[in-house]
């Protein structure tokens, strides 16, 4: 069946306690652009706070029509944390023009939506909005930090039977969002396609470490010591790329970037409670000189053994370049015929 023959897959997008960054990132979709990508899967935004014409009353009328069942809602996308404060009233965020807490709108709309998608770490787990003293009593749609629960409760399933799909990331890569919507629109996402934190596995089954251009430094434990150094940032500068579930270094951002390509640590922004690492973000906590957070799946004893071996074998080129902001010693040019 051609996609044109089907009814469009309808999306309603609301923002609550977030920064709008996930939307701003979504607009960076390219090759093809956002409109062409959505059209390819026959996805139509009923309303989006950044893209739609309807404002004020016209928007509210549409939300009411969805609640009344007059307009079908295939996916409710929520961006930003859900705010429960003050004192459980939700009034730290009322939906403008309605005098009603946005968390209540989210609950009512989630009940009629075929799928519910949390766009960004805020909506998924609370994110930065829930950091520190959590002044607004923020939580995610179906998680409160690491704990299942949140605004909709651990038992929530949307009409499709899926839990909330957590497109975690702070912000989300534009394609994480579009590919999730496309999979849902094509009826190709099942419960097993989500990982244990509800993240789509098509990107969460990768580590940021994969494809990081600093891998050679990592292998020899040739470490950056200060910002702008070329070496691996795991040992001293807080990089969590070996533990962070995302494909940032194989998919790339804004053409050809990623956090580690930009010279700074991966802070594991797709993980619940990334906002509270328990130490300064750009510093690696260590015990006895060994980083506390070891690469995912790596036994500690092996890490210690391998890294001391690697350090002993570090080529001079990597040792020198690791603490410089440009290549001091290029790889030797060898005449391959003489090998």
């Amino acid at each position: 069946m051609s996609t044109l023959a089907r009814e469009p897959f309808t999306v309603l997008w609301l923002q609550s306690g977030g920064c709008g960054g996930c939307t701003m990132s979504l607009l960076c979709a390219e090759a093809p652009d956002l409109a062409a990508t959505l059209a390819s899967a026959n996805i139509r935004f009923l309303w989006h706070p950044t893209l739609s014409e309807e404002t004020g009353d016209e928007a509210i009328a549409l939300f009411e029509a969805v609640l009344a069942g007059e307009v079908r809602l295939d996916a409710l996308c929520i961006e930003g944390a859900l705010l429960r404060g003050p004192n459980g009233t939700g009034r730290f965020h009322t939906l403008a023009g309605t005098d009603t807490a946005t968390i209540d709108w989210a609950r009512r709309l989630a009940a009629v939506a075929e799928h519910v998608v949390a766009v960004g770490t805020c909506a998924a787990y609370g994110g930065v909005t829930a950091a520190g003293v959590n002044p607004a009593d923020a939580c995610g749609l179906q998680y409160d930090g690491r704990r299942p629960g949140g605004a909709l409760g651990a038992a929530f399933r949307s009409r499709s039977g899926l839990p909330v799909v957590n497109v975690a990331g702070c912000p989300t890569h534009p394609n994480w969002v579009t590919e999730t919507l496309m999979l849902l629109a094509s009826d190709l996402m099942r419960a097993e396609d989500l990982d244990s934190y509800g993240r789509p596995r098509f990107y969460a089954d990768h580590l940021v470490h994969h494809g990081c251009p600093r891998n050679e430094y990592y292998e020899y434990k040739a470490s950056a010591e200060k910002m702008s150094d070329l070496g691996c940032m795991m040992e001293h500068l807080g990089c969590l790329g070996t533990q962070a579930h995302a494909d940032c270094n194989t998919r790339l951002w804004n053409g050809e970037g990623s956090c580690t390509r930009g010279g700074h640590a991966c802070i594991n922004c797709t993980a619940p409670e990334f906002e509270e690492p328990g130490h300064a973000f750009l510093e690696t906590p260590k015990i006895g000189g060994i980083p506390v957070g070891l690469p995912t799946d790596m036994p500690k004893a092996w890490f210690i053994a391998l890294s001391s071996l690697a350090k002993a074998a570090t080529p001079d080129r990597l040792r020198r370049n690791a603490t410089a902001d440009h290549v001091l010693t290029p790889p030797a040019v060898r005449d391959i015929r003489k090998r």
């Binding site: 306690g17 920064c19 979709a29 739609s52 404002t55 403008a96 702070c170 970037g257 010279g263 802070i267």
Partner: protein
């Protein structure tokens, strides 16, 4: 004619950043009084307390996904002040490029995605320019909207190259930037900016950027409208003339800019204030925040930001917004691209300010002229990068101290005030551009700039979400998530 006053509550206001509600008292077909409400409180200033000062570079940008780099820059400047260091030359130039990219991208988003689609609404069907406006600016679908989004995505490749990603990069540091560019990056940057220039010259301006940057007065602007090159800029001027947008949305005509883009010496756009026809320097010590009509504790007296506080008072009845009211020497000030160009002395901006003050047309023209000026400067900066020379100076964080960081976001003056005690953030106060522009009334009852700008806005028969109000609100390019943070 009836003089009965009606109350209108307008919201949700879309195509602005974040959430906004406006309460209007309407009589005789126009707005008599306006009250601006920012209905979202997250409490970033409190979230920052108790953390390692350097964490501000992670937390503060997440106030806002549209000007996250500006937030990051303000935090980095405050940290640099605490550490007593200055960025390296490369670090300074790369920071300018990163910040300018965000600001130009914001201007493009605002014009095409947020502002112009209002003129493609059915309400304007009878206007001579409507067919063109609808074709180019229909929300999400218009030709120019889509082209502009593609150009914006291309422009943001500068972030991929210099900052890793956008939004929420950690590349900007107190001593410069985390990533050194090499010769290849430099050439990619030239190619990227070249593509952006080409699209803007072809579609937006219909002319070289230099010609736009050089428009010297209102007469030349008028000539552009009548006989200038075809493009969306001219289309806007035509619409503005037809709808008299120059008479809509005038506020106090007091302008504020902290100055933007540090050069070898001075700034590309010098900072200060401009009021009553005079430019003056700025004394940051004269800035305070008033809580009288904010739903915040601490209403007794205005707060200098180093002594400020953020304790929401949910039970309060007099407050009507979570936004505080910043004042400079007790007065509300308008900030933004137009204010920045006026303060910096751009001749067209000064002429507009002298003849008609800030208004819907002037604010949009300010952004479009600034976009051209900034892109030209960016091309020069790319050539000033020196691969091989240092990118990031190193410093050490003291156990205690206080410092502020003042920068310019696309929407205007942004400041962070940080107090560190025992190696932790003891106090953090942020005053964002839209906090200035959309501030509520203060202790002496002075309304904020938008509240003033809305007075007199015409309401058509039966309108519940008046289109004139939408033009005025969006002319400020508000960022509500920054406002209350």
């Amino acid at each position: 004619m009836s003089t009965e006053t009606k109350r209108l509550v307008v919201g949700p206001f879309n195509r602005v950043e974040g959430d906004l509600e406006v309460r209007l008292d309407v009589a005789d077909g126009e707005v008599r009084q306006a009250f601006v409400n920012s209905p979202l409180f997250r409490g970033f200033e409190r979230i920052l307390e108790g953390r390692d000062p350097r964490d501000a570079l992670v937390i503060a940008p997440r106030i806002c996904g549209i000007c996250s780099v500006s937030q990051s820059h303000a935090a980095a400047l405050a940290l640099a002040g605490l550490e007593g260091i200055a960025p390296t030359d490369n670090g300074r130039v790369a920071t300018n490029l990163i910040l300018a990219t965000e600001n130009v991208a914001d201007h493009l988003t605002h014009f095409h995605v947020f502002f112009m689609p209002d003129f493609a609404r059915a309400i304007y069907e009878d206007r001579p320019w409507f067919a063109t406006a609808a074709r180019r600016f229909k929300a999400a679908q218009g030709e120019s909207v889509r082209r502009a989004l593609a150009t914006r995505a291309t422009l943001l490749h500068v972030m991929g190259l210099l900052a890793g990603r956008w939004p929420h990069t950690l590349a900007i540091q107190p001593g410069g930037v985390a990533k050194g560019a090499d010769a290849r990056d430099q050439m990619r940057l030239i190619a990227t900016l070249g593509a952006v220039r080409a699209d803007l010259e072809e579609r937006l301006y219909g002319a070289p950027l230099e010609r736009v940057a050089e428009i010297a007065d209102v007469a030349e602007l008028e000539a552009w409208r009548q006989a200038g090159p075809d493009g969306d800029f001219r289309l806007f001027l035509e619409i503005a003339a037809d709808l008299d947008l120059a008479r809509l949305g005038r506020a106090h005509d007091r302008f504020l800019s902290y100055g933007a883009y540090a050069l070898d010496e001075g700034r590309l756009y010098t900072g200060g204030t401009f009021a009553n026809g005079r430019a003056k320097g700025l004394d940051p010590a004269a800035i305070t925040e008033d809580h009288s009509f904010a739903r915040m504790e601490g209403r007794e007296a205005p707060h200098p930001p180093f002594e400020g506080s953020t304790f929401p008072d949910g039970a309060d009845e007099t407050g009507y917004t979570w936004c505080k009211a910043p004042r400079l020497s007790g007065l509300p000030f308008e900030t933004g691209a137009f204010a920045r160009q006026v303060v910096a002395g751009h001749p067209l901006a000064r002429d507009l300010a002298a003849r008609e003050g800030a208004n819907v047309r002037a604010r949009v023209v300010g952004r479009l002229v600034e976009t051209a000026r900034t892109l030209i400067a960016m091309e020069g900066w790319v050539r000033q990068l020196h691969p091989g020379a240092p990118w990031c100076a190193q410093g050490a964080m003291p156990q205690s101290g206080r410092a502020f960081g003042l920068t310019e976001a696309a929407r205007g003056a942004l400041g962070h005030w940080m107090v560190v005690e025992k190696g932790r953030i003891a106090r953090y106060q942020i005053i964002a551009p839209t906090t200035w522009n959309f501030s509520p009334r203060d202790a002496v009852g002075q309304p904020g700039p938008l509240e003033t700008a809305l007075v007199g806005a015409p309401i058509r028969q039966g309108e519940t979400t008046p289109v004139s109000v939408q033009h005025i609100v969006r002319s400020f390019d508000p960022c509500m998530v920054c406002t209350v943070h």
